[in-house]
């Protein structure tokens, strides 16, 4: 064990202590404070679980998680099977479309669906115009709408994890079942599906936990009775009312505990269940079937249906971005570039902030992530498992927990929150595991003997890293970098707690403009602009390599 590695690990631990452990412990301590006194106790928690309202938000959130998981599973299962198993032309482009929501912010999707399916939305207006209905149908306001948008947004996680499962199954396992006499659906149920469960679970956890982290989407649909949403409202709007503030913090802690606990349990379970087989000489693409004509048509219809729903988001946002006063009309009537003029000329600060904050966060990410990945994969430094554990845990922490804890921790004592650096710092911490996982994965693929050969040739560790490892890791690292940037760029749930006048980013701008109610065109234009930027970055990733699919999957832990 070299002294350099120990030193490096100490630095990383110091950063983790300052930016993760310190603020999060602040959050927990705060949750035990009793309003109006200087005392500590579990009163807040007791109140929380005794109050029927908060209990209801808790069960609502749980219920939403179950519903969304059910919906994404039912929709995703056939989709994943089609993508993994059938040889179909144009599958790549359809796959890219279906998976697009993984990089789109959920709030952008929510806006688009309101414009299209809302009470005064395109669909209702058209139906009224054609005389098919006499008064607007409530397509989306309420739980069903929330489930709808969450399902559309989270479907890619289920599809990706399941199709990875279907692809990774050694074909001979299914062939053996065929030889043993199991055909068609029976084989699928007894062999294929059970073998996919570890993969499925990885995606299912992300989907199920989402409602515990997403406070914004329910608010957009006019719903507040969910754990993170009520926490946001209590903390942001009632911070002068100590009691509501503390109850809000308790809600954040409860959400976080649930997220972390379920995340850890599923991780344990997946690792235990992971089926290692002696696969040798199997094809990379797994078992590919030439579907019959009936199945082909059905598959295309299904894929196109989902893809169209996804396409609706950028289309609607685009329409509202290039138009003005799009109200009570199924389609815009007045076209203009005014919205963009406002964004670019009158408040370019938002764009600039977004790029600067994400960029600085990214630099932090690289400076932290590469050494961390190196320590975890390549050294035997003491405590590296714990390091990996703490970093990975950040995958599970809701953004609201990071935002609130930073707000609490970095005012007095360490007053980081008074400087704009808090914005990129919080972005960096939110996406901590991201870059690490990418670098980690690339490191694992890099044969250690390549590095050893350099050392044998006389290069020291540092030189080996720069001459051999880094150039070979570059591709994977680059994809990681861009994904990190995309996720940081659309981040809102942490930033909303920390921004001050002059630090607004594009997502915050979208939120504020929507919040004011009147400026939907500008909010739409901002969201559209963001999607365009994300899309350009995605194209860059897919050009560089790794494929859009792999890139998106690297984002499995992505939450806002």
């Amino acid at each position: 064990m070299s002294r350099g590695n120990t030193f490096l690990s100490l630095i990383l631990w110091f950063i983790l202590a300052l930016l993760v452990i310190y603020p999060l412990s602040f959050l927990i301590i705060e949750s035990f404070k009793i309003a109006g006194t200087n005392q500590f106790g579990i009163k807040n928690y007791l109140d929380f679980f005794k109050d029927p309202y908060y209990l209801k938000t808790f069960t609502n959130t749980l219920f939403l998680g179950v519903l969304v998981l059910l919906a994404t599973t039912l929709l995703g299962l056939p989709l994943a099977y089609i993508l993994a198993r059938y040889r179909l032309k144009g599958k790549t482009i359809l796959t890219a479309l279906i998976l697009l929501p993984i990089v789109l912010p959920a709030y952008a999707g929510a806006f688009a669906l309101i414009v299209f399916f809302g009470k005064q939305g395109t669909v209702n207006l058209l139906l009224l115009e054609w005389g098919l209905i006499s008064k607007p149908i409530n397509f989306i306001y309420g739980l069903h709408g929330l489930v709808f948008i969450q399902t559309l947004h989270l479907l890619p996680f289920i599809v990706l994890s399941l199709s990875a499962g279907f692809t990774n199954i050694d074909p001979s396992l299914e062939e053996a079942a065929e030889v043993e006499g199991a055909r068609g659906f029976k084989r699928f149920l007894t062999i294929t599906l059970p073998l996919c469960t570890p993969n499925y679970l990885a995606g299912a956890v992300i989907v199920f936990l989402w409602p515990f982290t997403d406070w914004l989407t329910p608010l957009i649909f006019g719903l507040i009775d969910f754990l993170p949403s009520i926490a946001y409202i209590n903390i942001s709007y009632h911070f002068t009312d100590m009691y509501r503030k503390y109850i809000g913090i308790v809600s954040v802690v409860v959400s976080s505990v649930i997220c972390v606990a379920i995340f850890l349990i599923s991780k344990r379970w997946v690792e235990k269940k992971k089926y290692t087989s002696l696969s040798k000489g199997t094809t990379l693409e797994g078992r590919i079937i030439e579907p019959g004509i009936f199945i082909t048509i059905l598959s295309y219809a299904y894929m196109v249906f989902i893809a169209l729903l996804v396409l609706l988001i950028p289309t609607v946002l685009g329409l509202s971005a290039f138009s003005r006063r799009w109200v009570l009309q199924p389609f815009p009537t007045y076209w203009t570039l005014d919205n963009f003029r406002l964004i670019f000329l009158e408040s370019p600060l938002l764009l600039k902030n977004s790029f600067v904050f994400s960029g600085v966060a990214l630099i932090f990410g690289i400076i932290f992530g590469l050494p961390a990945a190196y320590l975890i994969t390549r050294t035997k430094v003491r405590g590296k498992e714990a390091l990996d554990f703490v970093i990975t845990l950040m995958l599970a922490f809701p953004g609201i927990a990071v935002g609130v804890s930073y707000l609490l921790a970095f005012w007095e004592g360490i007053p980081l929150a008074t400087h704009w650096i808090i914005m990129p710092l919080s972005l960096f911490v939110r996406r901590l595991p991201y870059f690490l996982r990418m670098a980690h994965a690339s490191y694992l693929q890099l044969d250690i003997s390549l590095e050893e050969a350099a050392e044998v040739s006389g290069a020291n560790k540092l030189r080996t890293f720069f001459n051999i490892s880094l150039p070979l890791l570059l591709k994977g690292v680059f994809v990681g970098v861009v994904m990190f940037f995309i996720m940081a760029f659309q981040e809102i749930s942490t930033a909303i707690f920390l921004y001050r006048g002059g630090w607004e980013t594009l997502p915050i701008g979208i939120y504020l403009n929507w919040h004011r109610g009147m400026e939907f065109g500008i909010a739409g234009a901002m969201a559209f602009l963001m999607i365009v930027i994300i899309f350009i970055l995605l194209i860059i990733i897919s050009r560089i390599g790794g494929g859009i699919l792999g890139a998106a999957w690297g984002s499995s832990g992505g939450r806002y």
Partner: protein, 360 residues
């Protein structure tokens, strides 16, 4: 009539012909091995018998029933057992459930299933391991699970696709004999695929050697070794010396020819196929190292004695292995210890004309 008949089987993958109009008959109760280098089409042929691959043309007839030409019979309906190269033991099921899977699909009563599984597990030495998951077993044990699963339904045909290639050398040798005696005891017609010639020799009643999608020779292990039908077979099975030359003289009544090679003297060779023996024809003579006799002094009254220099001399335990330079051709020869000549010294080798074969 043969139990399995393969008729004009043809299969293409893209532009690559994997199996090229193969004809083969396999008798009831026989163990036949498809032997060849990777990519020769042996596994594809096996997978066609199983029904896991559909041929582009031709048919496989099992027990008088065509598998392809009169409507495709799926693997599930063929009453076959198969052992895969990577075993394909289902990791999410216990050993018992792996083996019982096929029986349960036949809707046999639970008691019968239990009895049959216990019986077959005992016969592959896995008694008492039924409750384990495959992940808790060694590679060799997983292999036995696969074998038990393939045999438990008492299939008409047992198909084995390189079943031993993932095992270590010691275990592999042991399993060859175990599989052979097990299959013999159960009288199951068996098709075995391997690229390992030693394995094929041990396990088979007959071997079909395949090359580039064609069967180039079918015969007992002894026939294949002693009378290879082609250069390819001679080269693939065991080790041999090839000596290129041209037919110089034919001794028609004896089935022998003189071949002019790089040696100063002409080489007397046996011709198995008289069509090979045309004057001035370019041919290859093949002789195995163990068929070469080595002498310190030239023996009297024999033909095909050549003088050479020892280039390398290796001690291999039960014999000496020599690389002998004879007039710019390198000959490998097996010799006994009484040859004391060192590297660089001269010796005499005798190429027995009966074992020096002219091959196409």
């Amino acid at each position: 009539m043969a139990f399995i008949e393969i008729r004009k089987l043809f299969k293409k993958f893209g532009h690559v012909i994997a199996v090229n109009n193969v004809d083969l008959e396999i008798q009831k109760g026989e163990i036949l091995t498809l032997l060849g280098p990777s990519g020769c089409g042996k596994t594809t042929t096996l997978r066609c018998i199983a029904g896991l691959e559909k041929p582009d043309a031709g048919d496989v007839i099992i027990d008088g029933q065509p598998m392809f030409s009169q409507g495709f019979i799926p693997p599930a309906k063929r009453e076959i057992g198969m052992v895969f190269q990577n075993y394909a033991v289902w990791p999410h099921m216990r050993v018992f459930d792996n083996v019982a899977y096929g029986l349960k699909l036949q809707k046999l009563p639970t008691a019968t299933v239990k009895e049959k599984v216990a019986e077959i597990l005992a016969s592959v030495d896995l008694g008492g391991l039924g409750d384990r998951y495959p992940g808790q077993l060694s590679g060799g044990q997983q292999q036995r699970v696969a074998l038990a699963r393939a045999l438990v339904r008492n299939p008409k045909v047992l198909l084995l696709d390189e079943p031993l290639s993932n095992l270590d050398a010691k275990l592999r040798e042991k399993m060859r004999f175990e599989i052979k005696s097990l299959v013999r005891r159960m009288h199951i017609t068996t098709v075995y695929v391997t690229h390992d010639q030693a394995e094929a020799m041990v396990i088979s009643d007959r071997i079909a050697v395949m090359d580039k999608g064609n069967i180039v020779q079918v015969g007992s292990p002894e026939e294949i070794y002693k009378r290879p039908a082609s250069r390819f077979v001679a080269d693939f099975i065991g080790t041999t010396n090839f000596i290129a030359g041209e037919v110089a003289e034919i001794l028609p009544d004896k089935g022998l020819v003189y071949v002019r090679t790089e040696f100063k003297q002409k080489l007397l060779c046996r011709v198995l196929d008289s069509a090979m023996a045309n004057l001035h024809q370019k041919v290859q003579a093949s002789i195995r190292p163990e068929d070469i006799e080595v002498f310190q002094e030239p023996p009297k009254g024999r033909e095909n004695i050549f003088k050479g220099t020892i280039m390398h001399r290796a001690y291999l335990g039960n014999f000496l292995y020599l690389f002998v330079h004879v007039d710019s051709t390198l000959i490998r020869a097996q010799a006994s210890y009484n040859v004391t000549a060192k590297e660089g010294e001269e010796i005499f080798i005798f190429l027995n004309p009966e074992k020096c074969l002219i091959l196409p």
